[in-house]
Symmetry: C2
Subunit: 665 residues, 2 copies
Amino acid sequence: MAVTMNEDLRRERASATFNPELLTHILDGSPENTRRRREIENLILNDPDFKHEDLNFLTCSQRYKVAVRKRATLVKKIREFGISDPDEIMWFKKLHMINFVEPVGLNFSMFIPTLLNQGTTAQKEKWLLPAQGLQIIGTYAQTELGHGTHLRGLETTATYDPETQEFVLNSPTVTSIKWWPGGLGKTSNHAIVLAQLYTQGKCYGLHAFIVPIREIGTHKPLPGITVGDIGPKFGYDEMDNGYLKMDHYRIPRENMLMKYAQVKPDGTYVKPVSNKLTYGTMVFIRSFLVGEAARSLAKACTIAIRYSAVRHQSEIKPGEPEPQILDFQTQQYKLFPLLATAYAFHFVGAYMKETYHRINEDIGHGDLSELPELHALTAGLKAFTSWTTNTAIEACRMACGGHGYSHCSGLPNIYVTFTPTCTFEGENTVMMLQTARFLMKSYDQVHSGKLVCGMVSYLNDLPSQRIQPQQVAVWPTVVDINSPHSLTEAYRLRAARLVEIAAKNLQTEVSHRKSKEVAWNLTSVDLVRASEAHCHYVTVKLFSEQLLKIQDKPIQAVLRNLCLLYSLYGISQKAGDFLQENILTDSQITQVHQRIKELLTVIRPDAVTLIDAFDFQDVSLGSVLGHYDGNVYENLFEWAKTSPLNKDEVHESFYKHLKPLQSKL
Amino acid sequence: MAVTMNEDLRRERASATFNPELLTHILDGSPENTRRRREIENLILNDPDFKHEDLNFLTCSQRYKVAVRKRATLVKKIREFGISDPDEIMWFKKLHMINFVEPVGLNFSMFIPTLLNQGTTAQKEKWLLPAQGLQIIGTYAQTELGHGTHLRGLETTATYDPETQEFVLNSPTVTSIKWWPGGLGKTSNHAIVLAQLYTQGKCYGLHAFIVPIREIGTHKPLPGITVGDIGPKFGYDEMDNGYLKMDHYRIPRENMLMKYAQVKPDGTYVKPVSNKLTYGTMVFIRSFLVGEAARSLAKACTIAIRYSAVRHQSEIKPGEPEPQILDFQTQQYKLFPLLATAYAFHFVGAYMKETYHRINEDIGHGDLSELPELHALTAGLKAFTSWTTNTAIEACRMACGGHGYSHCSGLPNIYVTFTPTCTFEGENTVMMLQTARFLMKSYDQVHSGKLVCGMVSYLNDLPSQRIQPQQVAVWPTVVDINSPHSLTEAYRLRAARLVEIAAKNLQTEVSHRKSKEVAWNLTSVDLVRASEAHCHYVTVKLFSEQLLKIQDKPIQAVLRNLCLLYSLYGISQKAGDFLQENILTDSQITQVHQRIKELLTVIRPDAVTLIDAFDFQDVSLGSVLGHYDGNVYENLFEWAKTSPLNKDEVHESFYKHLKPLQSKL
């Protein structure tokens, strides 16, 4: 493929008002991080063993095979290069695996961490090294065919038999079949299975068990185990998501993970001291997903914005050459708010990571006080960022016109790989309702005269004696739509108002003699709305605070515009909320619409450079359309010609089916 | 698979307040239509030649082959059964082809109609019968690698050579390669090619030419023709979308379609009398797409609502059995507004079809007066309904949790087949701007004292001497949020207001000494907004008018609730627009939120039956999750076990790549 700098992109880069390298340092966290990341990326880019191949040209089964091979190369190379820092391994994976969906992934991301967190010392000694060395390939089996969100509803049983000192694992119904675990379909030989523990005739709820499922050596399913692939999916072709049915299948007592709860040889159950610590992994994964949302969105924006700079189409002035489609206001309006969102979510992701590590240290010192808020915040932000990103990736794809629908754009692949994030690790609506539960608790606390702290501290300012929600209007505030700080304030008021409305509606339902649970259900639309407003406020707040940390003036200026665009765009989309309580006036909303259009023009010259600063390697975008350089059309034509669809025996179908019809005429 | 009535669905059906059969008659247009549709569907369902196979289990190439085979069967059977009515052929196709994406489709939907519309009598005599008999398999080649929307930008040339009386067709650049035409990659032997006509040294713009591309008999590309498949896409696996490069390729003069424009043997160009008539096909296809949007959305809702009735999860009251997820307010809030939208769009589609036929008759009598409005309306409604449906299908998918991501739900396939509708036959933003152009013209007309008629007649009511747009507020109107008629009025006011704002902003830009074209671009966000408001108004209006035509009281009642839900949900989403000009008050917006929640509860008992009334056959849904009957989990398990992913040699990858790593430990 051609690698001369594309003329349109060259001009775009020349027009930038800031130095993208400095912005890359900010995004990476430090210049040193940028340097080291690139060093690792270059290991991959310069290594012939990492030859890139286009997954879009492969069938589902072929993609699985490539993913297994890639993971094997990865493990070898990480050992060879001596990379051990988790962040560095992540950079390595991200570039090498493109979307790093792969069958052995759960061994490292779920099996080993669960073993480390919930296993006794003896258990770790037995299983950790084999799992790290891939003698054991483990997965994590929780969801069942008929059960996802509601853990108490899981049906798989583990019944202790004191005579043999074994657990009998059983899938009593079709709905109890374990369903979805990654790597289960073909790859794993062990699974950590979540099952309802029965001992001495009593059920003690969900516990984790290490279950061998395939024979080491032959890799055949063990007797009593039925295991397979759950079938084709929207994406995730590389992953053998599987099912697991256990028929009175016996494992030794020692295979129950017993760091917390225990079952003694005689069957006596010993309760865990605290359950809170198991929060940890969940909170970690969800806060990680916020950063991944930012990353997926930034990739989608990179492709769509570069292509929009290269694509010339239609005319603005008759007779003049076709303009770049990035010069159309409608195209800017589609893409620039998403670019701003990618930056916003990046900073939220960085904040979540930092906060997680800080609170994790506190937990190490026995201080669990901040855990509930962190738990609530990660739940809501996981949902908020993944929903937004999900829609945004498709908006980017459709902004690329017809070519967005071709796999050459890379965008369909980014979408299908990302979209499960809205469902896994906590279904988004359920996540929003978890955040709402915390918000309601905080509201009640304030209402009963106590102060709350952290991100919900705005609830302290709610005038406590008010009767009519309308009176929020009297809060003294004049929003300056050109100040990120003042806009944060506007979002803060909106969140406070929607939390209060939800709380009052909840109260009303209760007062109509509904049970608490029914009342909760009948208010849940309001509760989700309140959580969204809370998360939106947090995002705006973190973005505007980020601006204060930036030294470089030109970068501060351009990020300030992005922050304004993000905040004002959100207001224009939810104008009703801001108008209803006079947080903004009618004429301010009109100004917001105008100001957004102005900001599009202001951001326009920097758009491509703002994208470049994310510093994605072409290979990690998986896109022909979004290359950093080169002639996009020549590349597309080459790509199509290489496609295996042009290598089939083209005429077979024609001769077999259509020709006979002709002769019958 | 089990075919006993699912117990949950049985209970749902028993609770309905109306007779679904009567509603099916309304949706089909008459009881007779329903009867005949079912008769044709049964021909397929009872015919062993139409054995259904799951496309999700096939590779891209296999899907292509199946589609060709199916089309061949279809042609044979249509001949055999003697079906000739276009509507009946459509029913036949819809059931048989599932999404009826298939390689020979463009021969019938584009090649033959274009020949009929633009060919001379002699040309029809030459090509029509062979095309109908599949001796000729034709496609329609318009878009190019570098050019889509902007027809004047197309680069392919057809230069007349009077010496040989031939046209020389040429693709001068990479960007001029024809790109995307369906059936071009492998199937077609002819294409109607759109090219810039040059004769006697002058360019006369785009004209259509019949171009042989593959040799009849051998099916090999003819010399001078480079043709192939454009590569894998997000969906449309069955379709061989292709590219076509012509290298000074000669065709006889007679191959230019000459019903309107002509080139004489000596090269003299004869202009067409009117261009308006070529509007016809475009208008027809776009109005057809509105109905297809309704149909795709209804399918997605069918799957999601049936599954939500069958799926039990979580708990509302602790200790009680897990409720159907359809009992969660958040789930109702996700799905019922979409159900209401499916009905709304169905009625809009029926209206468009009827209007098209009426105006087409007028055109037959030489009356073109209504064509501009119809053209503007179809453009906007195509965009409005396809954007909404696009988002809605994904919302349905995600409302099915994890299983929505599996191809067993059928939803990924519905989505990827539908989503190109936002781009093809007129990219949606471009469509909205076409509607806006008509709205601005109508506004100017009113402003200059003339009345306008049709759907834009509300512009006549704009007080013409106003200076401040705020004065719209003084229009005498009190909206009754429980009256569909009054809500239509609210949407009417909103549309009028947003058209006026766009017009004034356009004027302001012009007054800042911008050229008309630049001003248009700088107002285009407002223009799209105005068009959306116009289309939203039309949809609400048609839905509420439909209610008046319904005799059956129970059906009228349930459709009235759907109409209210559709209208109120739209208001809640765009509350800012309705508040800003006091179309509704703050407290009315609060009431709207409350009323929506009440309507969810009211619609709940009828939800499954409202879905049943669309009367989709299981096979046409392409979904295991959305079956009319049976045990969804047993069906899912069977489906997974049948998947070819469980037939691969499972362990090959394991032995090849992972085992060597183990031994190296």
